[in-house]
Symmetry: C2
DNA sequence: AGTTGGCAGTTAAGCGCTTAACCTCAACAA
DNA sequence: TTGTTGAGGTTAAGCGCTTAACTGCCAACT
């Protein structure tokens, strides 16, 4: 592969000049610039990005740490994040930490040793102290939807107002006339605040409306349809007269729809079902799933922008950003309760 | 951030010795090694991977070019590929080329300028000449499931036997007793050989069994459930007496199941439905989707291994590998035809 | 005693690029 | 005439790491 000095040699100038031509900096005569450009095109020279990264002290790469892709939300997020990064001239290194905090640590470690300029951390299984260690080494880190832990970590973070998401869901079901509503949520003991918040927003709204606390089914397996199926089956067979089910994410909601079908209850005529997130699958269901959209693409774009801001401005104070509020997406899986 | 020479200085040795300690090469006395290691741990030194990549002339990174993630198969593949790459000490740069060949070109270009050691190309929208140009520059490229084009590109490739996949599907339905079978496939004019092959294997097997060619519905939108829904609706309303539908991928098949439900036909009692690929969603449907698994994880692992072999052995001949044959996964969406 | 060989380390030359600092010369104003 | 200025370069010092080649030194052979 040709290098800068190959080009320089052929053009009869120094590498500095060629570099200046490429970067459009410094002052180079038009004739020289043209000659250099012609040679670059001729021999097919491409700058070595690794060398450039070393010389500039920064890599055109951002890392995204996600725990798993069991939930299609993550690929959707990753894709949007990658597009946003690309628009800013950056690559995205996607790292699946799976369920193993040590894999996360290994990634954090390697990624923060020069390969990437910053880290977007979404993986709930990362240990807070590992993140802090990396941040302390001067690597820009942005926490995305990191409501896993209550203690505020000393770094930038981007949060989504999941409380409002729960509230919107409750308001929608109440407005339709439902008064006997079941809740399918994730096990709170795992400290998964993203579910707890939705859960609480939902309950608070019902309480304000004077509706008694709903029957609840908790599922450990919060990122599978099967989990929602089992939870809803349990819920529907235990509690009579439920006319609606709210699940704290779309996957659980889809499982709930399946449970309704298995029990011979039609959605939405006999039972309304709704979720949170608005994954692409939600719109593809029959009936299409009513849900509260959190704006996946917007969240991804904000995350990238926040990280890039932190990198470029080097802001020290660790700000906390929120994305625009969630939005109710009315589809076919909810309707007024049967009389 | 501390550098090699910081460590060397504190340890009273040269950077070469520290480097040797880290890499376990050369010969270093046990006492010195221990001292160096202690200092590394003490000051929290991490090798700069960019500098290492430059010095070694290779980056610990592989690039994966996918076109989109509309079909959940791609994230599943990407995840498996990333895990395989990690086990080999590599990172995975995921690049979504979307529908734009120029984005693909830009990625190919940048990724092949030192940032990654090799490229896994799955994106059907990449232009063959762009791939050839990159390969000619000496960048190892492996084509994965690149049956988009008939002309053999001069590079390594990994293919899946989709013809057998179609055959297995036909054999399964025939064995169950179906004689009137519908086919939902992707538009062949787009040159999407991965669908055409499944399609042909299926038809050939039916023909061998003396079963007349089935009714067929072609869908442009091959990577959405909605596409399968529309196609199957068309098919089922046009052709009377169909007892089974074979769709050339799982998404189309899931759409077909929805269409059956919309028409009041129970799956599998009234209509059997099956697909190809075995995406995770297939197992989560109710009834669970019978399908022909192509071994996504195995394909991903083979891709990575093939690419790494090409990189390490620098093999010049452009071999073509095949993954293990597809396997029928019998689930609840197929049954003998109604009498 | 003289050689050999291996261990423990050092030296120094890169890898391909960026960039601050410097040089030269023509044009121009004072 | 002298000084200033700016355009159009050049020089050279890195960025942080790897590695081939080399240097001492000491124990072990013959």
């Amino acid at each position: 592969m040709p290098t800068l000095s190959d080009v320089a040699q052929r053009a009869g100038v120094t590498t500095a000049t060629v570099s200046n031509v490429i970067r459009g900096k410094g002052s180079v005569g038009p004739a020289t610039a043209e000659r250099v450009r012609a040679i670059i095109a001729d021999i097919g020279y491409r700058p070595n990005l690794t060398a450039r990264a070393l010389a500039e002290g920064r890599a055109p790469t951002l890392a995204l740490l996600v725990s798993s892709i069991a939930n299609p939300f993550y690929p959707e997020f990753a894709r949007a994040a990658e597009q946003a990064a690309r628009r800013e001239g950056h690559f995205l290194l996607v790292c699946h930490t799976e369920t193993d905090a040590d894999i996360g640590l290994a990634y954090l470690d390697r990624v923060s040793s020069g390969l990437s300029e910053g880290v977007l951390a979404m993986a709930g299984n990362l240990r807070p102290q590992d993140l802090v260690a990396v941040a302390d080494r001067g690597v820009p880190v942005v926490l995305v939807m990191w409501e896993q832990t209550r203690e505020a970590l000393p770094m930038h973070s981007l949060t989504v107002d999941f409380h409002t998401a729960g509230r919107l869901a409750a308001e929608h079901l109440l407005a339709l006339g439902h008064r006997s509503i079941g809740l399918v949520s994730a096990k709170t003991a795992e400290g998964c605040l993203v579910h707890v918040q939705r859960h609480c927003g939902f309950l608070a709204t019902l309480a304000e409306a004077g509706v008694s606390l709903p029957d609840t089914s908790i599922e450990y397996d919060r990122d599978t349809i099967g989990g929602g199926f089992r939870a809803a089956l349990d819920l529907l067979s235990r509690a009579n007269g439920l006319t609606a089910v709210f699940a704290t994410n779309d996957l659980l909601a889809i499982g709930a729809m399946q449970a309704a079908a298995a029990l011979g209850r039609r959605v939405p005529q006999d039972l309304s079902v709704m979720g949170v997130t608005d994954i692409e699958l939600a719109a593809q269901m029959r009936p299409a799933l009513t849900t509260v959209a959190i704006g996946t693409v917007a969240v991804a774009e904000s995350s990238i922008r926040l990280l890039l801001d932190k990198i470029r401005l080097g802001s020290v104070h660790n700000e906390q950003y929120s994305t625009p509020p969630p939005v109710l997406i009315r589809r076919g899986s909810t309707a007024p309760p049967p009389r």
